[in-house]
Symmetry: C2
Subunit: 695 residues, 2 copies
């Protein structure tokens, strides 16, 4: 150990000496902006401090940061299904590097809001606030501006943010959905410190020659200072903008330019640049690394080859990741890092920054803390409590038109059943609501799978809801509930992914619902009899007659006839053979038919995870709520063989798993008794008469 | 825009003023180390500058960095299969944040070296050098030290690094395999600047009370300064260590302490601390964030709750990720980030730093650049050129003892066939070499799958080789070649993962190889006749007689009898029924039997990716090299049904895919003619007589 006081004094002296030298170098260095426009474009640039704060290398390295726990605000305009999916990658990159509490201000249409509200509610990221602003209400403010840019009307909405965001909000960072962060956003926020008193907006210079106006004959872009500025990343000093009358300012400029321009070509960016051309004192130019623009013919290389560090990447070509530029692979890798990044890992706390927990997080922590790790069912109970991140309508989807007897097929799957989707689409011509249990990386594989399939991409009436994987057991009933909650028709067919329904089933169900007056006077569940084929290659029966012939030939069986006959025995297949009209059957122990019910039917019990008893409990619930069970005489669905799921293998080999399932069943029956009283006694009796470890 | 010269001068003045203030604060602030030992432990600490370099907040934020392209050196001791897998996560975290060229100095045993050499060669990370040092040669230097730590002898090897690393190497960072970086390692390297002339080693204080010696009655740890230092992260100033006679110094101390201590408890750490206790001037204490220690009873919370930023996390409990500490979830998330991180994304270049390309990288770039994107087979050719990262012997494995007629089953699979492994282990009791095509995240799922399976974890003779996914097509033949290259027995059974061999096959093959004198005088491929069952649930035949009975009953077929009879017709199943002895068959077009061959057989042609013709081409190659084809009369293997792979679905639906396969076949035949001359004519003739787009 060294003597302390003396070395400290020496160090301080040395520090000052060093900094004097640095400051001298800084004064002596030529100003890069003194070069001509062509030479200086897109080089890493050091903003000049305007308020007495230190500059030089220390500042460039981001040493000037906002106070540790300061809340930073970020605004994003995000409309439509695809943008609401794409913005997630931006948000992930931001959360990965951030060390400050963040508040997102999302200007969304109804579709994006519904998706993102669900996503953020289930994501439960600590120290992250989210507010939504209705984009449709903003349209009148900008719809008078003709615009040719691919972003459409939403591309113009950044102009009106000062009027839309809360009056108390002084500063905000505005990002396009197609940017990826490669550093802590607090470093960007720190650049507000470099604004002079008059500056209200921070922007990076454009890294293309667009605004120079010489790209083609008669190319006449909107006015701009030199190459102009890119608006994919903006620092907005909101209260100053309000003070200088921003709204009138930009409208005036836009109206004047539109006298000679037919429309904006680059949406808001044209108008921002025209205003800046007129009032250059408003803009604080930002270092190029904060908006590395990867469009065609980009000049970004001048920036990133010299910079030690890239901060924000901007995919501002309509081709996005497919843009053909030098070093594309490098930038794509950064993007793919966050595209496939497990968003669950971003649920980490910010140490030392007191912040409100996400809604429900504390209760969840308590429940998890109360679990007994020595309990044999610990994993089950933990899985049941897990809040999965949910991304509803992950892919483009058109809701079915409202029809009084329409039915949505509801099912759930993981990656290993993806190849069932095409066949299912051929068999079921109506709407579907499917929950997919995937990792973030698998969700991208799934996206590519659908895009590559003509059958799947042609179907706009299939809604895919991604439930992100977490924990060792398959949360089958939570998945079913997600898919069920998103069904938009009055009726649902509660199916499983390895079943193919009769080709006629969709039409037949709608006709049956109408004829039986289901949902009106009758509270009923329509039973679709289930069969199975042990063979892979298999000619699907076109009719009940063909099905019966296959059954007689031993090419088909009733479902799980060999392993678990009680699951479907109550359907009474013998009666079904002859039936001409729907017939009523009684509940029986372990009965688990596939049924059609009104959308507001009871939810599945989420305590059943993995394999076993997940549907049985649901049928018990229907019976307890007095649903009539009506078997449809012409309906059928057939199970295709597949390799056993890992959960089933585990169930078969583990006595613990079976013991645990038994415990869960008993708890389920206790809850039943509590809710239905004496009426639930029959279920308990039935259970006790079957002390086997039945599935 | 603002006037330039004036604002620049003002800025410099302001900068100086600000820094004077900062320096003043620095001088006035109390020295945190003046507090008592208990109070100061594990708080974020600012090292004192010793050579006139600036300190204060700017330095703490890492503003002092090594020059942009300076090569940084990192040494890691890594021995055994598990360490060689675990170190990859450390390396990924390091590569993720690094912006400098790096050189890794790996002290490895033979097993780890073989694994890591393959991994780094195929990883092809730009600006990353790797050197290996033989740990076994170092053992004599340290094996005299009795050691109780779980790391064993390898735990002591950090002591001898100054003598082992190249004499020209002046400084090195030494890391344990169980650390994870959460920041750029250059910031750690920058701390060398704070060393005084006398300091030779930089360490973070221990974040536990171990060395205070009061953990239990008669707990008598090795001597240390206060809490002592942790050696999971070390800055070693190598040339100074050599100058001060480090080797004698630590040996002297160790020998002296071992007079009263029975052994080291914490391996090298005890000895480092004992030396430092004696020579406190040698150590430069580093800020706690550079080694946040997550052992039981850790005091790390004092560090990370105050620090703005964690730099290195150290899993220094024997329980590793399962350690029970507060905030464990937070740290686990950081670790899991890199555990599942796609290592392919780390192949990105370092812009602006000239560095040698990895071996083969330039040639690969050229070949890829020469591909024509308009070529219908572009994807095929790109996939074929792809160098996949390969992690051989991913899990614990014991090589089979050398036996002259032993056979290894060779196959490949991806995640969707994992559930085949247990059955395969029951059917094949000999060694296996399996290539798995996985993402980094899937590799971890696979690891957990094996650990959870008693059948799989009991088998030490199955070697799993992970080939990391990249590109859209399944590189079936590259995978086969990886598995084949790693087979350690003189013979290999070239199988596919969806086949289960007869229970007796392993014994029968070894006996047949011996009887037939295979590999010695005879150059032969032994054909194992292939069958298929269309049924999932299926009672596997115990003998040839049982198999024939099932065949006659229509419960089995010869393999692909309905879709692709020519694939196996040449096996002559009619003759096989009656055969009592091996019989020779002739090559025929499209023949693709499963064969047993010497390990040095021809490799598979990697141009065939996805589905189709991948085995056919290999059999052609065997025939061209004059392998006799001998059918074994008692051998059989049976294909189990499974859902079609995505590649097959694609093949079936895409005319482009088929056209492309045809083109590849033709190119294969051109190559054959080049290599075998007129002898190859028969293959071309056969191909031309079958102009169909056959698989």
């Amino acid at each position: 150990m060294l003597p302390r006081g003396r070395s400290r004094a020496l160090a301080a002296a040395a520090l000052l000496l060093g900094l004097l030298l640095l400051a001298g170098l800084f004064l002596l260095a030529g100003d890069p902006r003194a070069e001509d426009a062509g030479g200086s474009c897109c080089r890493p640039m050091q903003p000049e401090p305007q308020d007495g704060r230190p500059s030089g290398p220390a500042a460039r390295e981001g040493a000037l940061r906002p106070p540790r726990c300061q809340l930073l605000h970020v605004a994003i305009v995000c409309a439509g299904l695809n943008s609401s999916r794409e913005v997630v990658t931006l948000v992930k990159s931001m959360l990965f590097y951030r060390k400050n509490p963040l508040h997102l201000h999302l200007v969304t249409d109804a579709v994006a809001q519904s998706i993102l509200e669900t996503l953020f509610r289930t994501w439960m990221v600590p120290a992250l606030g989210v507010s939504f602003y209705d984009a449709d209400q903003l349209k009148p403010h900008i719809s008078w501006i003709p615009n040719k840019h691919y972003s459409g009307l939403y591309g113009l909405m950044k102009l009106v943010l000062p009027g839309v965001l809360p009056p108390g909000l002084a500063q905000v960072i505005v990002l396009d959905t197609d940017v990826t962060l490669a550093s802590d956003i607090a470093e960007l926020w720190a650049l507000f410190a470099y604004f002079s008193d008059k500056q209200v907006i921070g922007l990076v210079e454009n890294q293309s020659d667009w605004y120079l106006g010489n790209l083609w004959k008669n190319h006449r872009p909107w006015p701009a200072l030199g190459r102009g500025f890119n608006t994919g990343v903006i620092l907005l000093w909101l209260d100053r903008l309000r003070q200088v009358g921003w709204e009138q300012m930009w409208q005036l400029t836009a109206r004047r330019e539109l006298l000679t321009q037919p429309a904006t070509s680059l949406a808001d960016q044209d108008i921002f640049n025209a205003v800046i051309k007129e009032h250059p004192g408003l803009v604080q130019p930002l270092p190029c690394v904060w908006n590395v623009q990867l469009s065609d013919h980009t000049l970004a290389e001048r920036c990133y080859l010299e910079a030690a560090d890239l901060k924000v990447i901007h995919w501002n070509s309509p081709k996005k990741l497919r843009v053909k530029i030098k070093h594309a692979e490098f930038f794509r890798n950064l993007y793919l890092t966050f595209l496939g990044y497990d968003g669950n890992l971003l649920r980490r706390e910010l140490f030392g920054c007191p912040s409100q927990s996400p809604a429900g997080a504390e209760q969840l922590q308590q429940s998890l803390a109360q679990l007994d790790e020595e309990d044999a069912c610990f994993e089950f109970r933990q899985q049941q409590l897990t809040v999965h991140r949910v991304h509803i309508t992950f892919l483009p989807h058109e809701p079915p038109p409202p029809r009084p007897h329409d039915v949505t097929l509801v099912a759930q799957l993981s990656m290993d059943r993806l190849q069932m989707l095409e066949a299912l689409c051929r068999h079921w011509l109506g709407p579907m609501s499917l929950a997919l249990y995937l990792t973030d990386a698998e969700a991208q594989q799934f996206l590519r799978f659908v895009e590559a399939s003509p059958v799947l991409s042609a179907r706009q009436d299939v809604a895919y809801h991604v439930v992100y994987r977490e924990g060792p057991l398959y949360p089958v009933n939570q998945l079913r509930n997600v898919a069920l909650a998103q069904a938009l028709t009055p009726y649902v067919f509660l199916s499983d992914i390895d079943f193919l329904p009769a080709y006629s089933l969709y039409d037949y169900l709608r006709a049956s619902i109408e004829q039986l007056g289901l949902g009106g006077l009758r509270k009923a569940a329509l039973v679709v009899p289930a069969f199975e084929t042990p063979r892979y290659r298999f000619s699907f029966p076109k009719s009940k007659a063909e099905l019966l012939a296959l059954l007689d030939a031993g090419a088909l069986y009733t479902f799980r006839y060999h392993e678990w006959p009680q699951g479907h025995a109550a359907t009474d297949y013998a009666r079904w053979r002859e039936a001409q009209a729907p017939y009523r059957v009684q509940w029986a122990a372990d009965y688990e038919p596939y049924v059609v019910v009104p959308r507001d039917c009871p939810r599945y019990d989420p305590r059943f995870v993995g394999f076993g008893w997940n549907k049985v409990a649901h049928i018990v619930e229907l019976d307890a709520q007095d649903y009539e069970l009506l078997v449809l005489p012409e309906a059928f669905t057939i199970h295709l063989p597949h390799a056993p799921s890992l959960d089933i293998s585990r169930f078969r080999s583990s006595p613990d798993y079976r013991a645990c399932l038994q415990a869960l069943k008993e708890e389920f029956h206790q809850d039943l008794s509590r809710r239905y009283g004496a009426a639930a006694l029959k279920y308990l009796t039935a259970l006790q008469q079957r002390p086997r470890n039945s599935a």
